[in-house]
Subunit: 252 residues, 2 copies
């Protein structure tokens, strides 16, 4: 029986700036009797990556622009949060009613610039978490640290929860990647019935992130997971390989 | 260690019109020593549901409209396929260059009306598969048959592979559902750090579908899967609960 196992990693201590994520993840997985194996993918929520990288903003230190103040007043939003969202943006994709959807500097299209006010830590005041500055580099750093200290080279995915058009709810997608290709391009390959597939490109990294989310727990008690049996194509890549350039996108 | 197991169900014989999907799925799972358990979710690809329901069109019997002929000629498409896509559509969302994105009669926004020309069967000629007419009813029927004959009441998800804006590649989403809620609404619930989440609604059914896709196999050799440990909220629902009405959608 072909199968996948997905282990949510519990027992990871509160992550603060400078934390060694490779160590806390591997230690927690080992303590839970699920040590990493060849073929595993490690999925790490962007939240703990951002915390470890100090990507946290005190809202009291943010001076909102007149535009941020005006729009926030109209829609009963926090002007400081709006200001941070705009600073994280390369471009506003939609700003309609109270909804603000931007393209971040990374090229991700998402609500509120990927900025999050939940799960930032029990002692924190009015702070928000930004996405990691370079999530591919974050994934590469975690992968390298795991490899050098624990002797296993596993792909690492940094994940975040994004909404999408047409459907309610959020799903986890890959925002950073190391050691695997984000896409599995089957164009030209014969399917189970022998027909050549003309357009099938599987978004493996995003599906791995979504599968991992099911193991994170409803309140993100487990901020990382091991996905075993997904068989991604190994290789060096960037999550930008999975992003549609503006010229080809019908929904900018 | 909290975890999920996802079993791709192999050994399902070629599905033809009138096939008893509940029986072939349960038999194949049992033969593979992974009998269904309470708490499992059964994910079934729309492809075999469509085959069992006879949702297959012979292209030679389709008379394309002048509009379908003209557009298909311009973009080197098969006019009969275009005609079928338009007949399955409630509305054209984008028709730009060779890309045709429609809202189907069900309310799903996807490329080519969810119509598929691959995996339809080795002996078939020029045929295409349509989405099931009422995928919720398909899921409900499979669930009821499993319950009555095998004594276990498991949620059933009918899945299909859809593209999405902004990112290359397809991910599996739920297009029909029975016995579970498609969304897990955490608004008002405290997160791991005690903060109340204001906007978190998890798209559980879609993530279950994406997780299952990783077990279907690259060429859909395994057209159904068991997802164990996802802990969806049980209840009677329709996939329409997960679709954003036009009035609220920014990307129509």
């Amino acid at each position: 029986m072909t199968g996948l196992h997905i282990f949510g990693i519990s027992g990871i201590p509160e992550v603060t700036e400078g934390a060694d994520l490779a160590e806390v993840i591997v230690d927690a997985a080992t303590a839970a009797s699920t040590p990493l194996q060849d073929g595993d993918v490690v999925v790490v929520t962007s939240k703990i990556v951002s915390k470890a990288e100090g990507r946290i903003i005190e809202l009291s230190e943010v001076e909102p622009s007149p535009f941020a103040v005006a729009w926030s007043t109209t829609w009963d939003k926090d002007p400081a949060v709006t200001e941070v969202v705009l600073r994280e943006a390369k471009r506003v994709v939609r700003q309609l009613g109270p909804v603000l959807i931007t393209e971040t500097h990374h090229g991700f299209v998402c609500a509120n610039g990927g900025i999050d006010a939940s799960n930032v830590g029990p002692a924190s005041g009015q702070v928000v978490t930004l996405l990691p500055r370079d999530p591919d580099a974050s994934a590469t750093g975690i992968r390298a640290a795991i490899r050098s200290r624990f002797g296993v080279d596993v792909p690492v995915v940094v994940s975040d929860s994004f909404g999408r058009p047409w459907r309610w709810g959020i799903t986890d997608v890959a925002i950073g990647i190391s050691g695997m290709l984000p896409l599995d391009d089957l164009r030209g390959v014969a399917d189970h019935d022998g027909r050549v597939m003309r357009s099938t490109v599987r978004a493996v990294a995003d599906q791995v992130a979504s599968a991992a989310e099911l193991a994170f727990g409803k309140t993100t008690a487990r901020p990382a997971a091991i996905v075993r049996g997904a068989h991604p194509t190994r290789g060096e890549a960037t999550i930008k390989d999975a992003l549609i350039p503006g010229d080809f996108d019908l929904f900018r």
